[in-house]
């Protein structure tokens, strides 16, 4: 058996099963939680903190091509996009997304 060649696929099976189990455990527990309860409020805050930390990680500590862009450029582009998004009470998602995308595109073209 050529384990060297199979190792990535083995890792993929492990990663997929592990990820699915996390989702399934969530379903198992969801029925017992009352969405009006204090536990729900606390758990929501914990979840948002986790999701936020993961999103910021993709910007601040990226893998691959983004890692070649200086940190201040990455943060600056994101900050500008968020500013566009919040510049009106009715959020402007598409203009904000375009701001970030075009700025990063421009940076990549100029360097």
């Amino acid at each position: 058996m050529d384990w060297q060649g199979h190792a990535p696929w083995l890792a993929l099976v492990g990663a997929s099963v592990g990820t699915y189990l996390c989702r399934a455990v969530g379903v198992l527990m969801a029925g017992r939680l009352n969405p009006e309860s204090e536990v729900f409020r606390w758990l929501s805050a914990v979840t948002y903190a986790m999701v936020a930390s993961l999103s910021v990680r993709l910007v601040v500590l990226p893998q691959g091509p983004l890692a070649t862009v200086p940190l201040w450029v990455r943060i600056g582009v994101c900050a500008l996009s968020v500013a566009v998004m919040m510049s009106r009470p009715k959020r402007r998602l598409v203009p904000a997304l375009l701001t970030g995308t075009l700025l990063m595109l421009g940076y990549g073209m100029l360097t």
Binding site: A7, P8, A15, G18, M29
Partner: protein, 247 residues
């Protein structure tokens, strides 16, 4: 009590509404994210079919990126399994917070299949919209939304892999950025103060804890920033609201 014919009709339209919510910016963003992932896999000299399969079976970009990174460093498969599962630990609470808002009649075994489609995009949009959707319409709404999101992952990944060598690197840069940027933008629409505070503190604490210990970073950040946000809200922010509501 089963769903009435009127409710069933309403559920069918909720399913279509979920699909409509996904088509446009959310699906485009997820597609770009997967294109970025395909490009990353190309740069790491991965098998495109391994990348494509991971988009279907893991269906969670952060975990997939961790996997590719560790594979390219030659990490053992068991270590990769553990690291990806830790990255996916957020799903436990994401599913609990979202699915606890479903109609009790939707607590059926098929949820165990539907939950596989739950990833960040569908979760963020459902959390945003659920409060305005009647209970019996929530599950089909989520399903329509998550199905469209799930469908774009495979073509996105393969396209990213095949485009990576041929487009200007600037395009790949923009594609990779658009996914995390989308989540940061949707966070500005979150309403409860406990969650807002948790997000801000999570953004600051996340990279710091990652620097100390990458494996425990997500759990520690979630517990500390989330609990702090909840506590500050409960201790100082919520009371005046209740008082003014009564007065």
């Amino acid at each position: 009590m089963p769903f009435s014919p009127a409710e069933l009709a309403s559920r069918r339209s909720a399913f279509r509404e979920g699909m409509r919510t996904a088509v446009g910016a959310p699906a485009a963003v997820l597609f770009s994210g997967m294109v970025g992932f395909g490009a990353l896999g190309y740069a790491s000299q991965m098998d495109p079919w391994l990348l494509a399969t991971s988009s279907l079976t893991v269906l969670a970009l952060p975990g997939q990126i961790v996997m590719i990174e560790m594979l390219s460093h030659g990490a053992p498969w068991l270590a990769i399994t553990l690291a990806v599962t830790l990255t996916s630990s957020r799903f436990v609470v994401m599913v609990v917070t979202l699915f606890s808002q479903l109609d009790d009649r939707d607590r059926q075994p098929w949820l165990y299949a539907a939950v596989h489609l739950l990833a960040m995009t569908a979760w963020a949009l459902s959390m945003r919209d659920f409060h305005a959707i009647p209970r019996e319409r929530r599950a089909p709404f989520f399903l329509g939304l998550a199905l469209v999101c799930g469908l774009v992952t495979l073509p996105g990944t393969l396209l990213g892999y095949w485009l990576a060598g041929s487009v200007h690197p600037a395009v790949t840069l923009a594609m990779v950025l658009i996914n995390p940027l989308f989540f940061l933008l949707t966070f500005t629409e979150v309403r409860p103060w406990a969650n807002r505070l948790a997000i801000v503190m999570g953004c600051v604490l996340g990279p710091l804890t990652y620097w100390f210990d990458a494996d425990s970073s997500l759990l520690v950040t979630g517990l500390v920033a989330g609990s702090l946000g909840y506590w500050v809200d409960r201790r100082w922010l919520r009371k005046p609201q209740i008082a003014s509501g009564v007065g």
